[in-house]
Amino acid sequence: MTRIEKRFAEAKAANRPALVTYVMAGDPDLATSQAIMEALPQAGSDIIEFGMPFSDPMADGVAIQLSGQRALAAGMTLRGVLDMVENFRRKDETTPIVLMGYYNPIYVFGVDGFLAAAKAAGVDGLIIVDLPPEEDDELCIPALKAGLNFIRLTTPTTDDKRLPAVLKNTSGFVYYVSMTGITGAVIKSRGAVGEAVERIKGHTDLPVAVGFGIKTAEDAAEIGKHADGIVVGTVLVDAVGKSLADGKATDKTVAAVRDLVADLASGVKRARG
């Protein structure tokens, strides 16, 4: 059993969705970011999505754009992201880590070299926004061969006809994007999200996590009624941004993220209560 499978199984046994938290690697600086990462499991995060900063995050809203800019300004690189995962793994052997970002830095790093380094560092899976199934030969197939999960986004525009193609090489879990839009936007209809999750479950046995637009413990509880996992990102990186003074970390930075995650974890726990 992979770390990801194990985590979803544990959450299911506890009759609750898994809490997946997204933070940006290197935001606002390397040391603080490492501390944030390490605080996440204790605060109630089941799975960590670790953002690989990119200069042109086309699918992200302002909060994650700014977060990536802070990380890049602080000197974060793809190699740096892998080093942080390696550091984390020395203390935590069980929390799954999924790297999320865009393809170009990986392409420039070199696909084979990157996959080997990611596996060695203790990465469990990848979510690459700009690699649809049409481009599976680029990274998805090599990643699966290297023993990493490749987690695909499905969206409201992915209809039943297309869904099997999208799910074909997906592994670990399915990430359902709750809306047509960018990260951090507002979910218009929670009911529609529930229906969509059911529709996807009709096509796969993989756990389905829902992300984009989940901001509060109440959102998490509500969406978590149907979903196997809840993904929260924008509010967390926004909390990092708001905790800064003159662009630098303060003693509030790590705590701001930790408190939010603890609150969201409480929402996840009462989702089916």
């Binding site: 392409y107 700009d130 047509t180």
Partner: protein, 403 residues
Amino acid sequence: MDGINSLRNGPDEEGRFGLYGGRFVAETLMPLILDLEAHYRAAKLDPAFKAELDDLSVHYAGRPSPLYFAKRLTEHLGGAKVWFKREELNHTGSHKINNCLGQILLAKRMGKTRVIAETGAGQHGVATATVCAKFDLPCTIFMGATDVERQMPNVLRMKMLGAEVRPVTAGAGTLKDAMNEALRDWVTNVDTTYYLIGTAAGPHPYPEMVRDFQSVIGTELKEQFQEAEGKLPDAVVACVGGGSNAIGTFHAFLDDADVRLYGAEAGGHGIDVENGHAASMTGGRPGVLHGNRTYLLQDSDGQILEGHSISAGLDYPGVGPEHSFLHDSKRVTYAPITDNEALEAFQLCTRLEGIIPALESAHGLAQLMKVAPSMGKDQSIVLCLSGRGDKDVESVGKYLGLL
């Protein structure tokens, strides 16, 4: 005529020109670009679509654009005969209208009710706002905040045409940031919105579609030159930002091995100045951005650089994927032209021919000026004069100290 060894066969079914191109977009957009491709294929086969586009090209855009013999420039350079393909005489003042007319007809066919576009210098924004006014579709133009400032006349034109101009402050506020923002809008408004990309780049089928709509330039040029001189030209030159006028000019000549093709990239302060140019092929490396793999200006970690050019229309860190393919295959010679070389060509053209070229086109002319003198007097070289320079007189005036 397009045999197995033809360079005109691309892209393949996956939207690839060799290594380049592809469909590197978020899943939300994937069904949209597949739908777009299906509609484009159908439109291409529909005689009514072609008839309407041809009619608009003649009566609205003013095609065919003339082929003009630049006598004084020829004498000045002392080599090959110099010709201009006068795309700057089209309605809205550049080649951009060719593509906008084609795509707006497609948007109508698809039942879309809103149009978005990105623009750098504002030429594509103006052309888009123009066709949206004519076809009564609301449109939003994304433009980098820096470009809004340096291209005010075009901003005013777009607004008067009824477009909403949305300044983009993310990044350095130039063309790539405008494109990011347009993609964010599209991913949000998938049901209603048509994204009218202005250059032969982006996810498949855009590079192919924009090329096809712009290919009228080279096709006309070939006929006109045949009529004037009874042969093919010896060399053809165009400027390359994203590369829509260049691919439109070159495409008809790709299999004519005797016709030398030159693309002028934005060399800015010089190709050796770090982040001081926008020459993605001569100064960049392959990468993936905005839906396609192509040559990009980027650092060693794969982060995209902003680049620099005196010309807002060439100030883009990427290039259309077909150009990347033609660069690798060496069919087209791409060369960097510095800001200063472009300024010199701008002035020479203005003084000798009474034609004020766009700064973008002046890059092409500067490349022509390097090639023509070493060619024989019985030879000919043609420049695609892609746009007029009215929009640039203020910024050139500043550079020359006239203001």
